[in-house]
Homo-oligomer: 435 residues x 2
């Protein structure tokens, strides 16, 4: 087999066989196929697409390029959750302790933020002392003892995906549905969970701009999961405005703590219940959604979920004093309101612009090597559909300096659109994809 022939085959629109895709990934992981051939192939895939068989074959090949975790010796059934990424998405921080509290062990590998989107690992690391670089033995021990562990994505899992993703990032081949599906699912399959819920986001603050794209991606990933023998469901959720109010690492941790302690923004709580509910249904811990939601609401109300987060943070070395008094978490020196530039109903909030503004404030990464400032970010004071008067605070800016504030204000203002007529708030969840 020669890579140049396989590139030509895909370039001409033909489907590659499982054997051919397996060979490509194996050779690429072994550095026997150079990046310049892989990127030409990725562009051909981007423009010519891949069918369901190809996508599954690619996923399995990438999953098998490294360690395949088997956690059944630690827990008979584990669950996992993945979000395709959005602005202000602190769902994992609430959902993970919630499902663990109702008896579904979760051993999760999470990523760091890049571009306009944040990452769970960065958020968790704003808690002083908390470690996410865990050894395999620690990971298993915490799963056994706490029933919940969140570690930084290990390089051992799906290393071919890691290699290919880094290449796609610099060759304009990220936004390909089959490549995204294969990337997400290869890591999820390698991480070993039995039941996986996918939060596939659409809208201005997500990679998928429309519900139709999100549905196509969700369907692909659910299919792959089934072909690989796992239970997988997907929720299509709106990122037409950021989720909850806080955007920024420590700010999001505070909001998540609030949600676990009986408060929290209603959209965040609702999405967590819907995603967690699907995990309960897949794990056969509830017969219907209403029962599942009742179990979960009880775990929130009783403080069981909050207690589970404390256990997890303590287990991973985090200082509970910061969790119990979230005002002690890193705070930005400048906190200032962004006044509404006009009166009216807010008709749109462009999430990607807010995410990039947080990046510009120092809260995210442009390149992987960048360090981040956990204290900075935004806290929204108004949502799509709200009526505001001229000068009413749209959001609070948490910044390192006034100069930093001034630099992002134009971008922030440009993220808002106003309407004279009332505007209906966007639907939070479009559909649940069950095979």
């Amino acid at each position: 087999m020669r890579m140049v022939d396989l590139i030509a085959k895909k370039r001409d629109g033909a489907a590659l066989s499982s054997g051919e895709l397996g060979w490509i990934i194996e050779q690429y992981a072994a550095q026997a196929i150079p990046d310049y051939q892989m990127s030409a192939w990725a562009m051909a895939v981007f423009l010519r697409g891949m069918d369901a068989h190809e996508t599954t074959a690619l996923t399995l090949a990438m999953a098998r390029s490294g360690a395949m975790l088997d956690l059944h010796d630690v827990a008979p059934l584990t669950v996992d959750k993945h979000s395709t990424g959005g602005i202000g998405d602190k769902t994992t921080l609430v959902l993970a302790p919630l499902v663990a509290a109702v008896g579904l062990p979760m051993a999760k590998m999470s990523g760091r933020g890049l571009g306009f989107s944040g990452g769970t690992v960065d958020k968790l690391e704003s808690i002083p002392g908390l470690r996410t670089a865990l050894s395999g033995a620690e990971f298993r021990r915490l799963l056994r003892e706490v029933g919940l562990v969140i570690a930084a994505q290990s390089g051992d899992l799906a290393p071919a995906d890691k290699q290919l993703y880094a290449l796609r990032d610099v060759t304009a081949t990220v936004a390909s549905l089959p490549l995204i599906a294969a990337s997400v699912m290869s890591k999820k399959l390698a991480a070993g969970a039995d039941c996986i819920v996918l939060d596939v986001k659409y809208g201005s603050g997500a990679f998928m701009r429309t519900p139709e794209q999100a549905r196509e991606l969700a369907q692909m990933m659910v299919n792959i999961g089934q072909l690989a023998g796992r239970k997988v469901r997907a929720v299509l959720s709106s990122m037409q405005q950021p989720l909850g109010c806080a955007i920024g690492n420590a700010l999001e941790v505070r909001e998540a703590i609030g949600a676990l302690r009986g408060g929290g923004p209603p959209d965040l709580i609702e999405l967590c219940l819907i995603l967690s509910g699907q995990l309960l249904l897949m794990a056969e811990r509830a017969d219907d959604e209403a029962t599942a939601h009742a179990i979960l609401r009880e775990a929130l109300a009783s403080g069981a979920a909050w207690a589970k987060l404390r256990q997890m943070v303590a287990g991973q070395g985090g200082d509970l004093a910061y969790l119990d008094e979230p005002t002690r978490l890193p705070c930005a020196p400048v906190q200032i309101a962004l006044p509404a530039p006009q009166a009216g109903y807010i008709s749109a909030i462009e999430g990607a612009s807010l995410g990039l503004a947080v990046n510009a404030l120092g809260g995210g990464r442009v390149r992987k090597e960048d360090t981040i400032d956990p204290s900075v970010g935004l806290v929204m004071q108004a949502r799509v559909g709200d009526q505001v008067y001229l000068g009413q605070p749209l959001l609070m800016i948490h910044a390192p300096s006034m100069a930093a504030v001034e630099a992002v204000v134009p971008q922030l203002l440009a993220a808002y659109q106003f309407s004279a007529a009332p505007v209906a708030p966007p639907l939070l969840v479009e559909a649940v994809i069950v095979l």
Copy 2:
């Protein structure tokens, strides 16, 4: 400017500006854009195409990536010729001395063979002593003194094209019309000729399979030439069977010598007259094709063209004894006929298969580093349209051993198709493209 954004722009089907293409080539030549980005861009160009402005901008950027020859201090007007490559194409060996003999100085840079197609430099080097690696000073001196020089493509000319071509070759992005046009024309523009004739070949032995593709490519290249202020015309010629009879380096030199000494296959002579005639018309040495052809026929008949080849070979260090007695040129130890496997009219001769067979005999290159055996090759004894009896020799195989013969026979036989009914020979020249 960021390369990843320019890749995305082309990926999405937009046209790149002259400034953007200039930047890409400049940065790529300076090694500031890595191969993996360039190959993703090339695949996007392959699948999305480029318009006339983009193709011209790319061509000029590649031409300007190295030295731009200006030969006007040596000769007020120089001519050049390029073929898109075919099987048995020894046209340059006849045409170059022919036009130089009638007073059109030709300073030509030629390539080596790769894949199924041969190269003029390899052919010339089968003459003992002859050097094609010439310094700039030698090149100019020979142009001044002889009016004819053929050198191996210098690395100084259009180095960005050389770099990109090597990358396209291993990333399945060769067969893109705009990229082919830009590659050819960047070298021709950099080589400094005032009048350029292009021999754009189509058929089973050429890169372009159909006259329509060849016409599109020819039109692109003629347009580029005009936009760059040169006189350029293109001839669409058939490669539905090899040109002339000989395929293989020394064998083709022998055939070219025959053509310059009053013999030679009629199709070779005809194509040389048509291409040379266009050069005479562009250089305003003749008012019409008939006059041009009369001038050229006279130069062949008088021995002036033959004398010019001898001058050139002597000037470049070649031993004239081999030219004057071509039987002394390298000879293969085994020479054996390929008998017709059936009686009938020959309806097709697949040139690419014959070219690959010569490669397999050792006469061509699979990789650039390969060395070649100048002695081996094929001499066709029958052409499309000829009626043959069972066992009649279709061609002579010149091989290093009987084992080598046996290895290529199945491939050679597969190149022939036969018909019970008479078959018309293919048209040699489809059209001349004049802007």
